[in-house]
Amino acid sequence: MKILFVYPRFQRHAEAHPELKKWVPMNEYLGSPSLGIAAMAAVTPDDIQLEFRDDRLSPADRATDADVVAFSFFTPAATRAIELAAYFRGLGKKTIAGGIFPTMMPDLCEQHFDAVVVGEGEPIWHQVLADVRSKSLKPRYKAPEIPDITKLPMPRVDLYLAKEAGDFKPDDYPVQLSRGCPMSCVACVLPTSMTKSLRHFSIDHVVGQLEQLNKHGKRACLTEDTSWFPGANAKQLRLLFERIVAKGAPATISYIGISMPLIITSTPDMLKLAKSAGVDMFYLVGGFDPITKGAFTGKDPRNLERAYTAIKKSLDAGIEPYTSFLLGNEDDDEGTVDRMLEFAAKSGITKAEFAIFTPYPGTPSWVKLEQEGRIIDRDWGHYNDANCVFEPKLMSAKQVTDGYLRLWRDFYAGKDFSDKCVAERTIQF
């Protein structure tokens, strides 16, 4: 038996708004696929042949000798995934959908795929494959329990590495520290897609993932800010940093995800340790947490002050805060764009990205905006943080889109286009 895994393409910011290429100094960076396919490939029995196609690199709708085509995708790629499923079903192939979007929208996906895997797929994958073999594939699969992630094998990142060619040579690949989250942030799908149970991979597993990448000369990007949560979580992260320092391999992490509250709650000692472990850059995600939701509204001086403190703390630790600003939250108004630009200039942020608030299916904000009848665009390809797909509260959708473009343009105005450091990763998505 043979499986073809497909990672469908999606529209990136600079594709949605080509003018960004004029305004933003950039070496357009195309990163690795997310870990879903690598994780499922790792629990696929050895006697099954695997093929992987990254639809972003070359169109995946080509003939195949695979028996089944398995897709992993998030919302921005859903339209393309559905299109590809139609193509492969036309060839007589069975199609399976998994990942965040199918988990959140299984009824919709059932109309387009032969089977939908809901939630984390590892515990049920063997059953799915057995049903493919016996030609008794069911429309929907959901594991009866969440997986014990301490027992999972290393993700098959080698499938991704094998696709590197030409200009596509990412210098880093994602590494998972944990799954799930106990919080209920309005814009985040994680507690729904991976449950509220925060589970850690073992330190050995994480170090193993880092070493796997190291062997190929690659660094790791750790995107989860949950790892900074005070208490048990931060302790786990501290152990990881200590292991990296002890191994004398300080260049293994390209960046690590964090949010402002977690910079505020991290001790200077912890930030120093992160720096010693080779963390030179934070991917500082804004717009989800109470600090960045309040700081740029003009009505919340306490959180504005905290935002300055967070950036200063990061800079003092020698870690560049590559900051992601989100426009279109419920309290954002026409003045928010100027407040964000003023903050970015005064706080000393040298690199930033800008995004439009997007109510992804499965998030609390999606449920709320659906109930209020404020979803105005259901083209999933537009759910990429570069289009306003809902009716904002204090602005029009056009004002939000114009504001987002002005943020990119004005923030990078005057920045040196020839400086490779400035241009690196300005537009990652």
Partner: protein
């Protein structure tokens, strides 16, 4: 650590994050409504508990606590667990 000492240490942590001073903090106070501790402050408090008392309270559990008394009780429970683990 006696209950009184634990309570006083937690009051001091809360006073650092709140406009309410230590002598005015009461066990029945609600963290948000009476002490003005928003969710970021609660996270800072959890960080202080971890740093100063070496307590590994899970976020899930901390998120359920809404009063000063609840915070003290949570810390007491985790200290007891830590002592039991050390003794075994």
């Amino acid at each position: 650590m006696t209950d009184d000492i634990l309570t006083q240490r937690i009051f001091k942590m809360m006073a650092q994050l709140s406009v309410v001073r230590v002598p005015d903090i009461k066990m029945e106070h609600r963290l948000r409504e009476d002490l003005g501790l928003d969710s970021v402050c609660s996270m800072e408090l959890l960080s202080m508990l971890a740093e100063e008392l070496d307590l590994d309270v899970p976020m899930e559990e901390a998120a359920q606590v809404t009063t000063v008394a609840g915070t003290v009780e949570m810390a007491r429970r985790h200290l007891a667990l830590k002592q039991a683990a050390a003794a075994s």
